[in-house]
Structures are given as C-alpha cells and as structure tokens.
Amino acid sequence: MSDTTTDTTTDNGEQDQQDLGAAGSQLSTAPAEPPAAPGLGVIGWARWFWRQLTSMRVALLLLLLLSLGAIPGSLIPQSGADINKVADFQKTHKTLSPIYDRLGLFHVYSSVWFSAIYILLFVSLVGCIIPRAWQFVGQLRGRPPGAPKRLDRLPAYTTWRTAAAPEEVREAALGLLKKRRFRAHLAGDAVAAEKGYVREFGNLVFHIALIVLLIAFASGQMYKSDGTKLVVEGDGFANSILQYDDFKSGSMFSTDDLVPFSFDLKNFHATYQTSGPSKGTPVTFAADIDYSEGAYGRSKRTTIKVNEPLHIGDAKVYLVSHGYAPVITVRDSKGKVVYHDAVPMLPLDANISSQGVVKVMDGYRSAQGVSEQLGIQLFFVPTYGGGSSVLSTFPALENPVLNLAPYHGDLGVNSGIPQSVYQLDKTHLKEFKDSAGKQFRDNLKPGQTMQLPNGAGSVTFEKGVREWAGFEIVQEPGSSWALGGALAAIFGLAASLFIQRRRVWVRAVPGPDGVTVVEMAGLGRSESAKVPEELGDLAGILYDQAPGAPDPDDSSPSPSPDPEVVPAEGAEKR
C-alpha cells in the first residue's frame, strides 16, 4: 500500500494543474472523432478513409444501413425461402421484376450490396476493436489519473472538516477503496481510485463475439448441406447425395463431408384434435426409426418429433412433413401383376386431401396384347365426409377413399425431359372411357378393386394405407461457435451496460485554520445516479473513521433544501 506513494509524489505540482479533462480522460476507449479533412497524398487519404471507417459515426451509419437493407428481404419474396412465391411475383409484376432482379432483391441476404454493408461493418469492427484492446491494456497497466485541482467541479462532491490528521484520512481512504475493490493509489495530497474495468472488458468481449458470430455464420454457409427425403413406412434412407429428393449445399461443401448413416422408417404416427373449434389441428407428429451410424453401425431405435431432431455427428435429421401412401396393385388383362407399390401422395390441404400418380412403365400389355404404358391420376381423402364433397374432412385415416382416373399410352418418360413423380404428362396418353364415352374414374375403399373398361386389367387399392414422412437432413458446421459467440455476446453486453466505470478521489489537506479538510468527488463515464450514491456510501464510512469537526463560524445557517443535494446515504435524484 505504501509503496504506491513513492513515484507519484514528484509530479504533485503538475497534478494540481490538471483540469477536469485529464480527470475524465481514458474513462472509456471510445475512439476519437476523426479529423474532418484528409492530409496530403495517397497515404493521407488512405489514413483518412481508415479513420472514417473505424469511427463511431460511420459504424452507426453502417448499422443503420444494415437494418434498412434487411427490410426489402422481409417484404419481397426470397428465392432462398420460397422459389414458387418468387415465380408468382415475377408473373404478376412484369415491369418491377427485372429491376428487382438486377438489384438482387429476390435474394437480398446474399446480394452484393448487402454483403458489402456487412463486410464494411466487419472491417470497421475489427479496425475499432484492435486499437481499443491496446488502449485498454494500457489503461490496465497504468494508474487512475490524479485528482483535479477543484474537486467541487465534479458531478458528485462532498466535503467535511475533521480532527483527524490528513495522512490518517488518506490512509483510511486508501484502505477503504482497496477493500471496495477499487484500483487505488496515493497521488500527492489525494487518493485516486477507479473501478468498473469489467465494463470495458465486457464491451470488448461483446464486439469480439460479434466477429466470432459473423465468421461462424459465414463458414456455416459455405460448408453447409441441406437435403430432403420422403420415406414411406417400411422404407429406408442412406446418407448419400444420390438418395436425396432435393439437395442444396454451400460453395465449399464436398460430398465426402456427408456424415455416413442410414435409417429405416418403421412407423409414423400423428394425432389430431378430435373435437372443439380446432378439430383437426395436429397435436403430435412422431416417426419411429431404426438408424445406424457409420457404414456398418449397430441398429438403434429412436423417435424423431417435430422439435426433436436426431443428431448424428454434425448431421441433424428433422421431421418436416408427412402424408399418406396408399398401396396400389395393377394387373394386366391376363391378371399378371405389373405394378405393386405404396404411392406417396402430396397433401393439398390441412385435412390431407392429397394427390399422386401411378406410372406403370413396362410389363403391361393391353387386352389386344399391345405393349403400353399406364398412368393413373390419384386423389386421396383420409376421411371422406359423405355427400358430394370431394375434400377430406379430417386429417386422420377414418374413412379413406381413393379416386382413380386411369390413362394409357406413352408416359413420355423417355423423352429426356425430367418429370415430376407427382404429375402425368398427358400429351401422349389416352383416357380410358366409360360406357357413356366419358373419362372413366372410380372411387375405391381399401380392399376394393376397379376393373378397367374392356378387360384392360384391374387396379386394387390394398388394405393398410401406409404413411410417409418427409425428412430434412442438415449439416451446418460452426453452429457451436455461433452459439458460443452468442452467449459471450450476451455476457459482454450485460457487463458493458450494467457496470459503471467510475473514479473517486479523496483529498485531505490541512485547512487555513489547521483543521483537516476532506474532499471527496466521484466521476462516472456517464451521468449516473449510482456514482453519487456510492460516493455518499463511501463518505459515510470514511466519516466514521474521520468524524466531523465543527465549522469555525458555528452560526452559519444550513443551506436551503436544494433538490440537487442528496443525503449521504444516497437516494436517487428526483
């Protein structure tokens, strides 16, 4: 404690000259505002530009721009979210669309200008953090500045006269402040102390955490993969690109990055609200699967629910959709089975009215013995409500009905144009006609069979409608870094907003009449009620150690109650 006095006594006189500016200096590491005009030459300009970029004002501007830039993406359909909506929008807005397209407004968050804003912000952030971190280290190694000459100019101030000797008061103050975990030292006739460095530290942690978050985000985008797969009960999936229905990946992704695993869907079950105004609203979705990690892993059973994905290494398997897959058997005119499979149907509404197609590619011969292809348009309702309504009235399988409309001819699958498995290309297909010459179609219940006209064969809707589940398999490395960065950001933020960095000075000198005058003052980084409160608290304790002595002119009236004066115990300014 006493060794702190040795090297500061010499600049005693200088410190008395210090004004408030010095006392308040370096209370934060906020950068100084940059000069208005650049110096000469390229280097001058470069330095000017850098100073501007890393100034608070430009950081503020970039932040504002970032939030402005994010707006259009929330109002205009985005191709990353829903490509169909973008197509719809482009159809209805013929003049706007090309302009939007050129501005990248259909993919705002990966557009050049949006990237430019956050990259500039990123550079500004880095350019801001490095000097601040250095400055902060310097402040930690240095000492709180000595007391300004006039303590009564500071935002919080108190004074009293005491019979104790100045050295005793200073010693007591030093001990008290150190006990309160201030960094305190004796500088001349006063003790200088500072506390709340955690604020600055937290602030640096927060800004660094933002950088970590950004990097984690960017690398996640580059290395991620994301695919979907529809699996019918009883079928399986192995994690390789060929097996996906739909697959997207980042620019740095390679197929070797796919985590090896496989699974079989054993059973999918859903329950729904059975009564009340929200009848039919889903209550639970769950998919029971057997999965194995690696190429030859042991099989394990688990259940995937909507909010409970399966984690296998870096990969996560989510349950994202579901529907029905009626089992269809098609026989030709001789009774030979030419098709037998569960046909996944795409849901069209909340009650899972759905549609699908059967494509019999080969093996079918007509009654005349001609080799043909068959296509059957299917429409399925899990709960047929009776009457003329063709839509399902409840999403569960209560009264399933399948409507079939068969066609024959050429499916066009060999034309080289990729086809959807849910749609029929009818250009080379002919309808089967009923006796009245209309399109032949029929409704079947499970177990029923429909005979095609003129002995062309039969179609059976087998008992036991299966269900399918849609899975999304996502790999996004770096998400644990993002999470870590996010948590660090919160703690840093809390520290930087809730902790006050403040300085306290205690001066004790003999007055003109020989009685010691104690002066205490506090200075916070921003005006805060806490600073006077704490000062009052400290003054109260110190006062007990150095009790007051009467004023020389005992008769002086007490000053009128002034709203600016708060009791030493500290209540807030009202």
């Binding site: 939030s67 994010a70 005006e527 109260g540 006062y543 009791p567 500290g570």
Partner: protein, 369 residues
C-alpha cells in the same frame, strides 16, 4: 382400442372444463377493462385537479441562475441547544452544457386532492392488474399451455406485463407516477383491440410450437416489448418536454395547455435518462430473446436463421436499438437525435409485432392473427 376410446372420453370432458375456463377468462379480461377504465378516469381527475396549481419551476430555473452548487455541504443543525453535526451531503452537479431544470411535481401538480385521485388511480390499476392477471392465468389453464399462442393472447399478456413493469417501478420507489395516464390509455387500447379484432377461441398449439424454447423465447419477447414500450413513452414525453424547455430557454411562450401538462413532468434530462436506462437494461435480454428464437428455429425448422420476416424484423429492431445505444455513447448524437433513433427502434418493434403478423406471411404466421 379401449384405451383410445377412454382417451377420447377424457378429451371431451376436458374440453368442457376448458371451455368453462375460457369463458371465465373472457369475463375476467372484460372486468379488468372495466377497472382500468375507472383507473383511467381517476388519472384524468388527477391531471385536471393538478392543473389548479400553477407551477413554473422550469422557467424560473432557466431564467434565474442560482449558484447553489458550490454551497458547503456540511451543515450544522441546532437541535435543542447542542450542535449536532450532520453527515456530509453529496452535491450532484449536472454535466456541463445540460440544462439544469428541476423535475416536475407529477400529475397532481402538488394539489392535495389531485394527489388523492392519483393514489386512487394507482390502487385501481393494481386491482385491474390482478384481475387481468387472473384472466391470463385462466386462459393458460383453459388451453393447458402458456398463453402465447396467438395475437389475442399476446395482447392480453403484453398489457399485463407492461402494467407489472410500471407497478414494479413504483414499488421500487422510482419516480414514475407520471407514466400512469399514458400507460393505462394504451393498455385500454391494446385490450380493446384484443377483445374485438384479435379475439381467437382458445385452442392448443400445433406441434411446431411444442418446445420449452417457446416458453423462454416468447416470454422474454413479451417482457422486452413491455419494457421497450415504457421506454418509448418516456422518449415521446422527453421530446415534448425538451421542445418546451428549449422554447422557454429561447424566450418563447408555450401555450397554457403545454405549460400545464409539461411543467408537471420530470425534467427533459430526467426523462431522457429514464428512457435510456430502461432501453439499455432490457437490450441484453432482447439479444437473448433473438438467440433463444434462433435455437428454437434450429430445432423446429432445421436452420438457426432463415431470414423469415419475423426473424428479420427482430434483427432490424435489435440493430436499431444498438444504433441508439451507440448514439448515446457518441458526442453529437445525444439528446433529440438519439431519441429519434429510439422511436424508430420501437417503431420496428411494433411493426414486428403487428405488421409482420398481419401483412407478411412467413413461418411465424401460424401463430394466428
């Protein structure tokens, strides 16, 4: 099969009790509106009666420069002939350049009768709050989940929390009584909107909303909204009071209505500080809310960040508040400019809450308008 039938039976009896609870909740919410209306009138009376006393502290403070700052802080009181030394008092000095204006006395303006009405208003507010809280709780019981599934439920929870924040600040003896009328007016608006436009029959949640992150994310979101709202009210009042003070400072003559109302509010510097503290205090929680939402999205949709409109606007709101905090930390952007930023930030929050649910469709829209 039998267990399924028993389950179905269970569900129907449950549904009956739930409907009973739901209608009880509605009754409670309507009752709370009635009590809030009474409180509203009591606040009005407080303001009306308060206008009887003509105070002009602001003008006095701005025109007469007293130098009380350097007055000695140790005083000696004569108590019964013996001198008793008082403890040293701390003198507080405002930052250089800021106006030194005392805070107003509050809505009652020092009028005793007005003060009485103010106290009645607060008691009524407490009562209405308790009734509304019961309404929210029975609603939760009727749906057997947290009452945050649709906008009706958001609105009733939101106003309950906003009033709770106000009452808590009062209980902590903070100088916030002046907020009462402004807060209760908007609470009534919010509830009126809830029971007329936004009413939704109670219903359970779709599976995507089944997650404990829902409880964390949505409860903090509502809380942050309520606190941001309190901050926004203070900011608006700051803008008015600041305009009033600078008019006086420049020798202008504000209208008598403005004088009567604004004289009774705290000084602009106090309002500004209050708004800043409120916003800064809740900003880390707002950050946490967004992160919790991202974690929830990660487990429900497979991706942490989808740039879904709701997420995007949460992000915009967050950046706007960060701008505001930065502005406060930088010279030249303090005061009115920072206040405008705070208003923009709260506007973003409002748009995220109402605008996105109503005008924009995204993954969040199944939360029900």
């Amino acid at each position: 099969m039998t267990s399924a039938a028993a389950h179905a039976l269970d569900v129907t009896t449950l549904a009956a009790t739930n409907e009973h609870l739901a209608s009880m909740s509605n009754t409670l919410v309507y009752s709370s509106m009635a009590v809030y209306t009474l409180a509203f009138f009591a606040y009005i009376f407080e303001w009306l009666l308060g206008s009887r006393s003509r105070v002009a502290r602001t003008a006095n403070a701005l025109t007469t420069k007293t130098d009380t700052k350097t007055a000695p802080a140790v005083t000696v009181k004569k108590a019964g002939g013996t001198a008793v030394l008082e403890r040293p008092q701390v003198v507080v000095r405002s930052a250089a350049g800021s106006r030194d204006v005392p805070d107003g006395p509050g809505a009652h303006g020092g009028d005793e009768q007005g003060d009485l009405y103010g106290r009645i208003a607060i008691s009524l507010t407490v009562l209405a709050f308790l009734v509304e809280l019961a309404g929210v709780a029975t609603r939760a019981a009727s749906v057997q989940r947290a009452p945050w599934g649709n906008m009706y439920e958001f609105n009733i929870t939101f106003s309950t929390v906003a009033v709770a924040v106000y009452l808590t600040l009062l209980a902590l003896r903070k100088n916030v009584r002046w907020l009462g009328l402004f807060l209760i007016t908007t609470v009534l608006l919010d509830l009126g909107l809830a029971v007329t436009v936004l009413y939704t029959a109670s219903e359970p949640l779709v599976p995507a909303l089944h997650s404990y992150w829902l409880y964390i994310h949505v409860s903090t979101a509502i809380f942050c909204g309520a606190v941001f709202y309190v901050g926004a009210v203070a900011t608006i009042l700051y803008l008015f009071k600041d305009a009033y003070e600078s008019k006086l400072e420049n020798g202008g003559k504000p209208g008598s209505f403005a004088t009567s109302v604004l004289e009774r509010l705290p000084a602009s510097a106090s309002l500004d500080k209050f708004a800043y503290r409120v916003n800064a205090a809740v900003f880390p929680l707002w950050t946490f809310t967004i992160i919790a939402g991202a974690i929830w999205a990660g487990s429900a949709w497979g991706r942490y960040w989808n740039w879904d409109p709701k997420e995007t606007w949460s992000f915009i709101t967050w950046v706007a508040y960060a701008c505001y905090l930065h502005a406060r930390a930088t010279a030249g952007w303090k005061g009115r400019k920072a206040a405008y930023l705070a208003m923009i930030a709260f506007g973003c929050w409002l748009f995220n809450y109402y605008g996105v649910n109503i005008f924009v469709t995204g993954k969040h829209s199944y939360a029900g308008v």
